[in-house]
Amino acid sequence: MFKNKNQPSGVDTVENAKSEPDKDQPWKELGLKQDEYESIKEILGRRPTSSELAMYSVMWSEHCSYKSSKIYLRQFGEKVTPEMKKHLMVGMGENAGVVDIGEGLAVTFKVESHNHPSYIEPFQGAATGVGGIVRDILSMGARPVAVMDQLRFGAPQDPDTTRVVHGVVDGISFYGNCLGLPNIGGETVFDKVYQGNPLVNALSIGALKHEDLQLAKATNPGDLVILFGARTGADGIGGVSVLASETFGDEGPTKRPAVQVGDPFAEKVLIECCLELFHAGVVAGIQDLGGAGISCATSELASNGGKGMKIQLKNVLLRDESLTPEEILMSESQERMCAVVPKKKLKDFEKIVNKWEVEYSVLGEVIDEDRLYIDWGHEEIVNVPPRTVAHDGPVYDRPVEYPKYQDALNADSSSKLKRAETEAAAQLMELISSPNHADKSWITNQYDKYVMGNTALAMPDDGGMMRISEETGLGVALATDANGKYCYLDPYEGARQALAEAYRNVAVTGAAPRAVTNCLNFGSPENPEVMWQFKQATAGLADACQELGIPVTGGNVSFYNQTGETAIYPTPVVGVLGVIDDVARRVPSGWQDDGNNIYLLGTTYDELDGSAWAKDLHNHLGGRPPKVDLQKEKELASLLYGATQQGLIEAAHDVSEGGLGIAILEASLRFNVGARIWLTELMERDGVNLTAALFSESQSRVIVSVGREDDVKFQALCEARGVPVLRIGVTDKENQAVDIQGVAKLDLAAIRGAWAGVLPGLY
């Protein structure tokens, strides 16, 4: 595609671009639109060289430029008050946001998608997804300390789902375990809407001292630009622009660009090497290489620092000598970093990378000019203003259209479904043994949750929690959520709900929510109805963050998750980070002691639209998702925080998908301690019937267990904070059962059998 027979070296030079202005160029094959190509010509005042074309095409791809989402993402920054920014050291726009957690410490966290590569080659796709997000965290100067994974698979029984599940879980397990990062949580959802478009999102979190913060900037002319880590090869060339920026045809992926192959060992060594470089103070700026490889690293470092660079591309260490300059610029080979190093620190830099046996080469230097020059030997092949590549890409205000199906969908409420209250127990058992509510340990047991010795909570608790300071016990909790069904019914409310649920899941662990990340998984932006969903969801999320008073610190957008005309449910994965002053106060999601009181906090409404009861038991999806009241959510979180600070709560578990019934079973299964439950008072107080009491998915609800000696105190606290509280049962260690009075006495062993066998049976 790139060879030019007229040049002796076969390379298209800047000179050549001037002398041969009318040469045909493969802009279309590279994913550019006609007007985008024209505007490149306008910027340069000539046609681009083939290398420049390669750079612009990858950097202006949807995945790298956020061209369809930019105008909506802005509101995450705009709808932020100074109060919300109080703890924010680095906000959106950097590799990852950085949040002050006190004691001179900070954490950085972000979630990112690797959906398309993971469908084509599930193992390597998922593995390199973990690798990529970890490098983002590392590039902020932080030591990565944990990962999480948010997964959406197709129908559980479909043979292709088996392929994807095995590959993805193996890939995450392989890469994360080998890096020595505990996996502390995630999501697993099955739905046939994700059949041809599985979602593989990976989250990483890192910890740093305030003074260790690094930025991706080249600000000092004369500093050296050094590429280090793995050699550059032919893998993943144009993967980002081609793969993640287009819809798969009905027949599945047609383009099979070379996939990226991950080497977690190389990345582990790179992490240790980078941390040593940071602490030795030898780097002035650093950027990871992910999508768009060297094109991205050079142009972003220069653009962020308001400077330029002069690069000799022949200095790039290659795995395969036959790579063309265009391919080198576009290669997405993994496990590489780009550092800006003052000349006088070069010796120190070399000493450290040599210790870790990491290869490096000096590509060029920072210049005091708004220009990125790249030479190939003696020939100039790139001469561009870096900002135009990195930041001034096209911005689209895509057509938006209210979906034709939306009104009918919202009108199709679940109220017509039969509520057979005599079958409630059977329905509960059916739900707990459906793939979406069954035990996920077949997956999570493949992940190391112990490494580093700082994991305070992990699967199956509601949020993951890490100790950050060994001296004081200061730590952070993290949870992510997204309910695609709710978002399909109402993307605005659904996005608010995702935030509310993640927020609640952090609150139940005993931590105080502080910051947000997100990964917005949607269909094609070229479909106006999808764009409407996107517009609604981003507005919902931004408004909700403002209401809860916690800022978005960063995130990622994944479009084109659609096969033919069928898009996935809008799936905005929202991650909430909380802070806890001593992880010793953490609260698990299951009761342990005998005879403790079980309370339901919050109010139950008749909200079964979009519920697991409707979808998983009746194959119905329609109506309106549950209402979200963020003021209540805030009060609930603050109550939980106060109660855990006083050590009043033994266990807390949020009530979400599957409703109260599932929450009770989960809290009992956690430590194999049963419960006696009564629901009549609840039904009377809230005016709901048994089906709603058990299966409604009303928000702002949590079940807690409280020791008898703390009862009075706890109830008083609830009253003072105005949180509805109702005793619904008592824990019961003797009877190995969950006895729901008037419904059924369910044997714990039977529940466990039904719950634990599902995933192993399928995969």
């Binding site: 080659e121 032919a234 192959v261 080979s333």
Partner: protein, 82 residues
């Protein structure tokens, strides 16, 4: 014992981290002349009887569709030892 031997290697263009690690170890150990190492699989399919043409056909099919992953690997040989 009659057997079919299927040999599979990582695709030339793609990174072979395992091969790289072993190459480095060999070089560290003094084998300076080795320019690279690649590591693949050798899969033996055993039979209780003579191998037939049909078995070979089937093995070739399985080699491509199941035993290897054609996105990242090549089947480099399918041979018979009777």
């Amino acid at each position: 014992m009659p057997k079919i031997i299927v040999e599979i290697m990582p695709k030339q263009d793609l990174l072979d981290p395992q091969g790289k690690a072993v190459a480095n170890a060999l070089v560290r150990g003094g084998n300076k002349d080795i320019s690279g190492v690649r590591i693949g699989k050798r899969i033996e399919l055993h039979f209780d009887r003579e191998v037939t043409e049909k078995d070979i056909e089937e093995a070739k099919k399985q080699a491509k569709e199941f035993l290897s992953n054609d996105v990242i690997e090549d089947v480099v040989a399918v041979t018979v030892e009777n």
